[in-house]
């Protein structure tokens, strides 16, 4: 039995972009199919709002349809799409009521004069399997990411969630590679602390039962 070739009938990203630059109208639907999930999930991770993410996805697709032919090709096409998605998501966030942010400095590791950590560190890394798919853990993780300051959050989402390289993230956000690395490290430290608090409470709750 032969399986259909999934690449047949679909253009590669490179070809789609070429068609777009040349004003070939037939490739728009494929372009939308290729990018709408990336646009929606990035926007949803930044805004955590279904309706806003739908709006952002539509706005970005419209830009691709109307201005795609002006794309210069100076950076990767996907970097351009990510950049306009981030900007459109920030516009949505700006129009919303501001929620007080947690200072990242308050959550980063603290040390005594000898350079030892104040925090009593528990290793919960072995016990995450059973919790991973629970709704409670999911909500806690989403809330922790939502609490990250914008600069660290966007780097964390692009680098660790989307899996882009430091180079590409630097290019999208127009920041240096050391800045990408430093923001990512701070984001991970912040999230580790938030999750540690949660697993600590979870363990205590389980032991009380």
């Amino acid at each position: 039995m032969e399986f259909p070739d999934p690449t047949k009938g679909t253009l590669t990203e490179e070809q789609l972009v070429k068609d777009l630059q040349a004003g070939e109208m037939g490739s728009f639907e494929q372009l939308a199919n290729l990018y709408q999930k990336k646009i929606y999930t990035l926007s949803f991770n930044l805004t955590r709002n279904i309706s806003d993410s739908q709006d952002v996805t539509q706005e970005v697709l419209l830009i691709l349809f109307r201005k795609g032919h002006t794309f210069q090709g100076k950076s990767a096409f996907s970097s351009w799409v990510y950049r306009i998605t981030i900007n459109a998501s920030y516009m949505k966030l700006r129009s919303r009521k501001k929620e007080p942010k947690v200072s990242i400095e308050d959550v980063l590791p603290a040390f005594n004069q000898g350079g030892f950590q104040y925090e009593k560190i528990q290793d919960w890394s072995e016990n995450t399997e059973s919790l991973l798919f629970g709704n409670e853990t999911r909500n806690i993780i989403q809330k922790a990411v939502d609490l990250l300051p914008d600069k660290e959050k966007v780097v964390f989402i692009l680098r660790d969630v989307e899996g882009l390289s430091s180079n590409k993230v630097g290019n999208i956000l127009e920041i240096s590679i050391p800045a990408v690395k430093s923001r990512l490290h701070r984001a991970r430290l912040f999230l580790r602390k938030k999750l540690s608090n949660y697993f600590w409470e979870y363990k205590a709750r389980k032991e009380r039962k």
Binding site: F65, F111, Q117, A144, D160, L195
Partner: protein
């Protein structure tokens, strides 16, 4: 020997495999004597994995997919 503070500063580069051989040895010597820092590394790694697995599964809801399809059909430029 490096302290916990220095160990955590070097952690990112260590996990990326970007440390010099000398710094890597210092860090591993520290780990050998410091179970809390080993716990820290393990939970730092797990944090990345947990967050990625959680946020990656945010798919487009079916109702939104339908609306986006309608939107694309309505707004895509006409094929000449």
């Amino acid at each position: 020997m490096i302290c916990c503070k220095e160990c955590i500063e070097l952690l990112y580069s260590y996990l990326e495999g970007e440390l010099s051989a000398e710094n890597e040895t210092s860090l591993e010597d520290h780990f050998a004597d410091c179970p809390p820092c080993i716990a820290f590394v393990n939970t730092y790694r797990s944090t990345t994995l947990l967050c990625k697995n959680t946020l990656k599964t945010n798919d487009i809801p079916d109702t939104v997919k339908i609306k986006l399809k309608e939107f694309v059909d309505k707004n895509k430029p006409d094929v000449l």
